[in-house]
Symmetry: D2
Subunit: 296 residues, 4 copies
Amino acid sequence: MTTIAFIGLGIMGLPMARNLARAGHSVTGVVRSDAAAERADREGVATVRSAADAAAGADVVITMLPDTPDVEAVVDAILPALRGSALVIDMSTIDAGATRAIAARVAAVGGRYVDAPVSGGEAGAIDAALSIMVGGADADVAEARPLFEAMGRTIVHVGPVGAGQVVKAANQLIVAGNIQLVAEAIVLLRAQGADLPAALEVIGGGLAGSTVLERKRDAMLAHRFDPGFRLQLHAKDLGIVERAASSKGLALPLTAAVTQLVRALVARGDGGLDHSALLKLAEELNGTPTSGGHSA
Amino acid sequence: MTTIAFIGLGIMGLPMARNLARAGHSVTGVVRSDAAAERADREGVATVRSAADAAAGADVVITMLPDTPDVEAVVDAILPALRGSALVIDMSTIDAGATRAIAARVAAVGGRYVDAPVSGGEAGAIDAALSIMVGGADADVAEARPLFEAMGRTIVHVGPVGAGQVVKAANQLIVAGNIQLVAEAIVLLRAQGADLPAALEVIGGGLAGSTVLERKRDAMLAHRFDPGFRLQLHAKDLGIVERAASSKGLALPLTAAVTQLVRALVARGDGGLDHSALLKLAEELNGTPTSGGHSA
Amino acid sequence: MTTIAFIGLGIMGLPMARNLARAGHSVTGVVRSDAAAERADREGVATVRSAADAAAGADVVITMLPDTPDVEAVVDAILPALRGSALVIDMSTIDAGATRAIAARVAAVGGRYVDAPVSGGEAGAIDAALSIMVGGADADVAEARPLFEAMGRTIVHVGPVGAGQVVKAANQLIVAGNIQLVAEAIVLLRAQGADLPAALEVIGGGLAGSTVLERKRDAMLAHRFDPGFRLQLHAKDLGIVERAASSKGLALPLTAAVTQLVRALVARGDGGLDHSALLKLAEELNGTPTSGGHSA
Amino acid sequence: MTTIAFIGLGIMGLPMARNLARAGHSVTGVVRSDAAAERADREGVATVRSAADAAAGADVVITMLPDTPDVEAVVDAILPALRGSALVIDMSTIDAGATRAIAARVAAVGGRYVDAPVSGGEAGAIDAALSIMVGGADADVAEARPLFEAMGRTIVHVGPVGAGQVVKAANQLIVAGNIQLVAEAIVLLRAQGADLPAALEVIGGGLAGSTVLERKRDAMLAHRFDPGFRLQLHAKDLGIVERAASSKGLALPLTAAVTQLVRALVARGDGGLDHSALLKLAEELNGTPTSGGHSA
């Protein structure tokens, strides 16, 4: 049994904390309201009102927060309270460069740090079926592994601190690009008069097949863009990709191109839609505005 | 039993013709040399020396040729010899617009036309495991289906004449884009110090997964770019995509971007490499020339 | 004095034919209506009702037509009537490859061919101030030069037959790209709170200066997108660029990117606006729909 | 007469400081060596060994430094020494967001801040002919104007603090894009057999004309890529553009595309060449490696 402070009991975080509690760990979350405390309590997660209080007694601090500044703020807040060699595990999707800087601040007070962003979404969090991309020292990752196994199905150690975020970033650039390519294919197929469902079926069976095509095809053809994974989150993630590339002076032409398209959708007010709504922009750019809920 | 003229006994065409012969059809190919005639004979394929001769006695004429002008030339050559209502099936990957024009010329002499480009490569041709994307009238496609079933595993009727080529084009834009996205991910992961095989494994297990990642990953990491599917053929196919998009005034930004990269590889002399060599250009653009045969 | 058949008495063609007539040449145009004949007559241009009739008696045939198929059709129509060594001068903006094929057809009947597309627009046509990019044999270009001097101010011989069209294509890719870059700069400047007129003034004075910035800036800031040069014509010209690049297997990444944007505007119904309306799409992609006639 | 601390006596800074001294101001620079002190002395610029010492007695502190962290470090170093209402003028090209943060730190100790990046290069610095893009409060800009007039020819107040950097960023995106478009035009013209000098002459005379074409054409055709303005500096500036766009969630497709190309050149080891060497990459992507010093 590990004593865990879990900071970030959101849509993803709460079921993850619950799965840790169910696995027999002592889990304390941080809440701001009685209602949130009750929700956590129902899931077997104890609560306090400040991150520092949660961290004070913990062997392991897990953060699951929206963006880089949130993790920076929480880590700064808990540093004074951190037990000597406590292990901080950040499961948020944030900047790889900032991750290394935060890890250095943790190391400066004797702590250890692992970055472990996830994929699999809310369903994966609930079902303990997340994929977890882990960056950190071998010993620290080994220590964290049982906790990851309570939350996920695929746990892969992908390199030193920061590498987890880098792999998540690479994952997100492929996902965005794949969706856009399917969207462009749909635009071409429709304009040229092909039978869309039949066409996507045969395409999906060959070298052009992808998980995106498999999982998103029907919703895209039906123009059902309820999330799922919101474009505004994907835009944030592509910002992480952009900085990871830029900091190494990398030229990534397709990544840069699809990043602009995701940003355009967010700027136009579609940030709350599922990322498969890249099709919506692709259609609008080609003069065929998407009407909600109607099939192609 | 159908009497078939099979024009184009190349790497793909010869095993396809053989599979038709094995299925009990009478297949006559066209060759220019005794050696080619002997090779065909060993596969159960009779031969003559001109396309018109082959077509003269055939119920069905199948073409499997490199590019649009080849199909145009052959169809022009056989038109005078074509039996009244013969069915011409073009299984080459060629222009959708040209396909419709060729079909009109066939119709003008009373013939019928189906376009049926394939994917699955040489192995798919040998194993009768091709995916076949079929455009044409219902009755014609129904008539051709038993022949397709002798050559392929997945046969999908995707629309009227030309639709087969359109679907193949859409397939090829997705494949090229997916390879390039994996290449960009590899460049990012390596520059940022991630463990490449571990990273690609976890990426492949989630929404970023694709057949490209599954089939091409190891060869890409090992820089083994022997074909497979040559970049110069993929460049040709992206030219077909370009014209299919342009003829409808479509804006396909990622497709256009990856098309330039494929062309650059061909222009630089790498057209004979497998299309996974998009990684080679991605690496050279980032100052890390690929050394043949060595792993990352 | 040269006897000239002038085919294509449109917005550009009529003032060009008039300037030839004013320079003392005998100019016969082709019209389809009495009204058009009267308009031409007022400008000193005689008329007949068929291109073949006009060409029959001419030393020089000039074509000024919308697109490639128009020129092909007219040349095919006049070939039987063409005097032995007549000079055909195409001043339309059409395909470079098609130009070479048309020139070969003219040469096959003993004629000579020069391609001489223009820039400078309607005002340039009226004021005999066009820039003329001339492709052809030295002797033919020398023979045509006095005619060009009656219509234009800058006449440059840029290579063999087809080269005029290639240079016009290169011109059009630069113009489209320059407009888009100014549009992106405006989007950035506005979002970041800079004083737009002041910013564009200082930018225009340095290495970022361009004729586009000088001539289009005020209209762009005021969102006045009345043509000028229509996006649908620019889309046609970028199709010419695309084929000229594609036929040589060239990778032109910025050209390809801006081509998609021009097409998107046309697909969305803005093809009748001036090409400076690339700003309109740039703004819409960034969530700031352009309201007609209002300043930034 | 104003007492000025000038921090950053480099290739640009030293002649700028000299021009201020010649205009009658008391200028003290910061040097690390006796040799640098002597060079400054010969130009009428006094020197001390620390930025804080220089700032202590100054009404105005001018910084002319390579990049954002340099300006941040210097401003942090001088803050304790800064006279109550001293005016800090940063003439470096740095981040717009960081500029606003630095200005806030200066304001917190009672100081005032103006950002005033320049264009015009070493020659402009020597000849007091710089273009200066100024962001700041009206009163502060008015106070700084006489100093700017000693260093530049075009001084434009483009908005509040940070706006100067934003305008410089917009300038740099247009310049990079314009160079790339000329490079792509050259590749197309050469592949299609046009007479390059004649073609660029006629192109430059119309709507495609630009200062880039005028100033860079001959060097590009001769493949003379000695700087001038180094690609590595342009890559840095495009990083500033990227962050300025990203921080506002902007979609700038051509800007993003050309940024990748500039980075590729730097990654390949060409960062020390003039930015017109975008042509070098354009040619290499098209299989025609540039040989140094030879004409096209």
